[in-house]
Symmetry: C2
Subunit: 324 residues, 2 copies
């Protein structure tokens, strides 16, 4: 936008070709449009150089749904079922037995340790390429238990528009998620337009080795390396991006430190939170949810004037239309 | 380049406006130009989509010099001297005493453990922002002990041209170095045109905390987190970039696995090694050097037809002209 181009004129242009058609008019949409207008206005007091227009998005519950459980966990369950014929011992061994029997109570009893075992069994002991293929195969065939759609269609249409709008305005968009980095990279480019090198996430230990065929390979180990959640998010941003975001978007207490870190810098900053308020089109949950718990971040966001996006009222559409 | 545009014509254009003027005509330059021509030729058998044109460069000895010691280590020595007034106990304590006395024999006696102590004392116990400032201040004032130039001028002019040439042809250029990621990011954008998010390196543990001023901060700890060297390089590439490079450039055995991993993929690949053969303009060292040892990678590179760049004969210029 050329210096001197008036705000009113910019407003008209926006009104004529709405870059965020799935966002209803309201405080959240206005906050986004105003923020992008001011940081891109050359010569203006809030101008930010393109190289510094870093925007970070949580994934689960912010870019795609996360109920009734994180989709990556549902992938692990499906993998246990797929791999069970090669592991006859699983039938009598927790937590595998519970998963195979569909016994969610039994699974809950195995606690976090049980879940980590499941993740280790389905995410480790293979090359990075074999893992990538298993995720791609699952995404191509699996359906969400209640929505009956492919998981990659349970992304939020308003966020797809926001990502594209930010990029069209010189932003570099990143995912910063507690999800596994190698899991997300399988679909992030195709679904969100975010290339692998702009995905930050949790990771397991990986070892380099020369394989039996004489070719170099990377082997995923059954051991956690880095958890990109809570205070791990600003640490991950520092390690992978090396620049403080000017815009961050989350939906749970696991995003609180990323949002604090983002607004803690000087100059214009925008912190946003998706509040899941739509039991009809999506799900309604916040303070008491075991998945995507939003409690402290909601209080701090309200107290500090962060933009709380009310899914029910702010989003005209939630999911994209089903693919033909 | 449009499909059907003839190779001969492309050769003429290159000759007319040489994108690599500091490279002498020879096998190395030809290998680079041919590789870039074929991966960018739309419709050709070796065409690579821009998103997959990942090029990774080692830093020490590949993009800038590394003698008489890694520059980051010289920074640590200078920092010990700068901080000594606040640490009167250092005068009687190794390895600090040796550094302060300029006693390189005494320092050598403290071994790798001593060097790690020095790095911990000068790279930890501060915020990431304070560290960034200390590196920037040092780069602005320090001079190389024998070349008498700022360290950031001891970068290789032919490599600056190569980085720019690759980017002009749709490549995304990354640093993948054993050096500290936060150290390199201070100058990588200005000197190499490589933004912070495209720098992969070794790192220390960083903790998130709310500071005494109520502001969030990232505190560097005196503990190593990840060593991006040797087999750590393909691991770092997988973790940070998530895509196998099609071109990699190194200069030492610490780059061997990165080069193996790069050529191990399908499709066109280019592996390059700087061989330091120029005792007059730079330094001459390889198999027996304690810094930047090039032995196994030289053998494997020659055996497998990787491009070995002979600094003395392949580079018309080594360093850029001194800044006025």
């Amino acid at each position: 936008m050329a210096a001197g181009f008036s705000l009113a004129a910019a407003g008209q242009v926006v009104a004529q070709t709405d870059p965020l058609p799935s966002w209803n008019q309201g405080a959240a949409k206005t906050a986004i449009l105003d923020f992008v207008a001011k940081v891109t206005r050359e010569g203006g007091p809030d101008y930010v150089k393109p190289a510094e227009r870093i925007a970070t998005f949580d994934n689960d519950g912010t870019l795609w749904a996360e109920q009734p459980a994180y989709f990556q966990l549902l992938f692990a369950f499906d993998e246990v079922k797929r791999l069970a014929p090669q592991h006859p011992e699983w039938k009598g061994k927790e937590p595998y037995r519970s998963v195979l029997a569909g016994d969610m109570k039994g699974l809950a009893a195995s606690g976090e340790k049980g879940l980590l075992q499941l993740v280790a069994a389905t995410h480790g002991g293979m090359t990075t390429e074999a893992f990538e293929k298993s995720v791609a195969d699952w995404l191509a065939t699996a359906r969400h238990p209640t929505k009956k759609r492919p998981y990659s269609e349970l992304v939020y249409q308003p966020q797809l528009e926001l990502l594209a709008y930010l990029r069209a305005n010189g932003f570099k968009t990143f995912i910063v998620s507690g999800g596994g980095v190698e899991f997300m990279r399988v679909f992030a480019e195709k679904v969100y337009g975010i290339p692998p090198e702009q995905v930050v996430g949790s990771s397991g230990v990986v070892k380099f080795a020369i394989g039996p065929d004489g070719k170099p390979q990377l082997l995923k180990q059954a051991k956690v390396e880095f958890i990109d959640d809570g205070p791990g998010k600003p640490v991950g941003i520092n390690r992978f991006i090396g620049r403080r975001p000017i815009l961050a978007f989350g939906n749970s207490d696991g995003d609180l430190q990323m949002l604090q870190y983002t607004v803690g810098g000087s100059g214009p900053r925008l912190a946003l939170i998706v509040h899941h308020t739509d039991a009809e089109r999506e799900w309604a949950y916040d303070r008491k949810s075991s998945i995507g718990k939003l409690d402290k971040a909601l209080d701090e966001g309200r107290a500090k004037g962060w933009t709380i996006v009310d899914m029910k009222t702010d989003w005209k559409e939630v999911f994209p239309p089903a693919r033909p």
